[in-house]
């Protein structure tokens, strides 16, 4: 829970966190090393005082998580969005068993999403059913750029992906988090394409598609799609980490998202442990749009909007009753944003 200077309470849902293991012992090959090295480079977008030593970054503990996310980080509910990367790590980069164990320790504060990979074919579908029965997943994280043997990635519009989406729908998985970062195959197409989200979102209007990292590095392609598909959401992780080194620039990004998607379809995520939530939230609460940016989109980044982005929007997707949950966690019940009807959309 975040308390503003004016004593307003804000309920925080961090919609993108990890407990990863990038340790040398867990690395299967050079790619496992390169992957965590690359993450560590991203980590350097943090303010200096928040940079961890590399060894800690490779594999941090559950206690680190509790302190950084729930303690210092104001977060009331955190959502695991695991990436498996089984070709790079023996036990996966994220491990759903470990996540589940941690969830059981904090049942009111953790939502542990699962994952699937359409390249696992029929056996994978059976596995998905067993997993949902066991873990009660309401959401999954899909990593289309994941390597698997000869394959260097897949698309949401692949026929097998449609079968998995169909089964997800039947099993009650509502929230599809899709990592849309720099994909690497098919080498000459996907790299600039978030078009498969468009196809899948149209084909499955009952599902919510949360595009993690707002389609980075192709933001304009993403906003173009999201403006048309009402079940497409923006996951702010990675983008919001620019708030420290490039605050002016981040205001342009967030204003772009507000203009095209409106304030109800943007979700905060720290991507912990890429970055800790504390400084991001501190800076986001303090952020004001410069006048020229605000006038261009005809709105301000109000406290109301921040409250939606930091918690209410994710709470809606995951059926969290904020008042009830706050009470359960022994917290003051925060003010609720006015129920918004249709959001502002581009004419």
């Amino acid at each position: 829970m975040f308390t503003t200077k004016s004593k307003e309470k804000i309920f925080i849902v961090d919609a993108h966190v990890h407990l990863w293991d990038g340790s040398t012992e867990n690395q299967k090959n050079i790619h496992g090393k390169q992957f965590i090295d690359c993450f560590y480079d991203y980590h350097h977008l943090s303010p200096k005082e928040y940079i961890w030593p590399f060894e800690k970054y490779q594999k941090y503990t559950e206690a680190d998580f509790e302190k950084d996310v729930f303690g210092d980080g104001y977060v009331d509910v955190a959502i695991f969005n695991p990436q498996y990367l089984g070709d790079f790590y023996y036990n996966g980069s994220s491990n759903v068993e470990r996540n589940e164990k941690f969830r059981q320790k904090h049942p009111d504060r953790i939502i542990a999403n699962g994952w699937w990979d359409p390249r696992n074919g029929e056996p994978g579908l059976e596995q998905l059913e067993k997993d949902v029965e066991k873990y009660k997943w309401r959401g999954v994280k899909l990593y289309t750029a994941e390597w698997k043997g000869e394959s260097k990635g897949w698309k949401l519009s692949d026929p097998w992906a449609y079968r998995y989406l169909e089964r997800s729908k039947e099993l009650g998985i509502k929230n599809i988090h899709v990592h849309k970062g720099p994909t690497i195959t098919p080498l000459n197409k996907d790299a600039f394409d978030v078009g498969d989200v468009d196809d899948a979102a149209s084909a499955f209007p009952e599902l919510n598609f949360i595009v993690e990292h707002v389609g980075l590095p192709r933001l304009s392609d993403f906003t173009f799609i999201a403006a048309q598909e009402k079940n497409v959401y923006a996951g702010l992780s990675v983008a919001i980490a620019l708030i420290h080194s490039r605050p002016r620039y981040f205001t342009e990004i967030i204003s772009e998202l507000l203009f095209w998607l409106g304030s109800d379809r943007i979700l905060f995520g720290s991507d912990y442990a890429l970055w800790v939530p504390k400084w991001i939230i501190d800076k986001f609460i303090a952020l004001e749009l410069p006048e020229d940016v605000a006038s261009e989109i005809g709105q301000q980044l109000t406290l109301e909007t921040k409250r939606k982005i930091l918690g209410e929007n994710a709470a809606r997707l995951y059926n969290i009753d904020i008042a009830e949950r706050s009470q359960k966690l022994g917290l003051t019940i925060p003010t609720k944003s006015k129920a918004s009807g249709e959001r502002l959309v581009a004419a």
């Binding site: 992957f35 480079d41 350097h44 690497i184 098919p186 304009s220 620039y249």
Partner: protein
């Protein structure tokens, strides 16, 4: 010509090579880690990208553009371009050396060649440069109604300050690559498909193409941030850079 002059010439040639997605020079982005000239005519270039996972198609485009740009120097007989620390470095380096196309470099993994992607980024570069120039012109007091009916010839005659002049140079360069074979009497500001713009839609159009510019800027920022982090532990990294 001394070796230092030759190295300078290579750097100058590389300055014209851009990252297709960010639309900025590979030298400004500090991708080039080393330039060497051997025996007066053999050039070796090394470059590095912000992450081990950067898309191989972009890496391939940049490597082959570097090779082509440097080969244009009259004294150059052989160019070797080496991409470092990338998961597909071996394949890319070999294919660029053999002047293969992208499909040959990754047999069975691509479905077409790179002309389509090149064209797509050319269009984005056009829009981005166009938006910067139009906004600059509007700020300088040029009337919006003039912009939508000006020809390229008239745009070239327009008195502009120094910044405006350099934005215009960049734009005209992209304009000629998009509207190949078009004459100076053609409209200066059209959509990438050549459709004229009406005065009424100009504001919305500018907002739309601003998104393209912001994406590119965004990528540039991330890219520089990552490269800076990646280069922390490379001794002597900066010694060969231009400035």
């Amino acid at each position: 010509m001394t070796c230092t002059d030759q190295i300078d010439e290579v750097w100058a040639a590389l300055e014209r090579v851009t990252d297709p997605e960010i639309d900025e020079s590979v030298t400004k982005l500090e991708f080039i880690t080393r330039v060497e000239v051997e025996a007066g005519s053999r050039v070796r270039i090394e470059f590095r990208l912000p992450t081990y996972w950067c898309a191989p198609n972009f890496a391939f485009l940049m490597a082959s553009d570097m090779r082509d740009a440097v080969e244009e120097l009259p004294w150059v007989e052989e160019v070797s371009v080496q991409l470092l620390d990338h998961f597909s470095a071996t394949l890319i380096n070999r294919s660029v050396g053999l002047k293969q196309n992208f499909r040959d470099a990754f047999p069975g993994e691509t479905d077409g060649d790179l002309s389509q992607i090149r064209q797509s980024f050319l269009g984005k570069s056009y829009q981005r440069r166009q938006e910067s120039l139009m906004r600059h012109a509007l700020r300088s007091g040029i009337d919006a109604s003039w912009l939508v009916r000006a020809t390229l010839g008239e745009l070239k005659e327009l008195p502009l300050d120094q910044e405006g002049g350099s934005l215009r140079n960049l734009y005209v360069f992209a304009w000629r690559r998009i509207h190949i074979g078009s004459a100076e009497e053609q409209l200066a500001f059209t959509t990438v498909d050549g459709r004229p713009l009406s005065l009424g839609e100009l504001k919305d159009y500018l907002r739309l193409v601003a998104g393209v510019r912001r994406t590119a800027d965004f990528n540039g920022l991330i890219c520089r941030g990552l490269l800076a982090a990646r280069n922390v532990n490379i001794p002597g990294r900066r010694e060969n850079a231009l400035n």
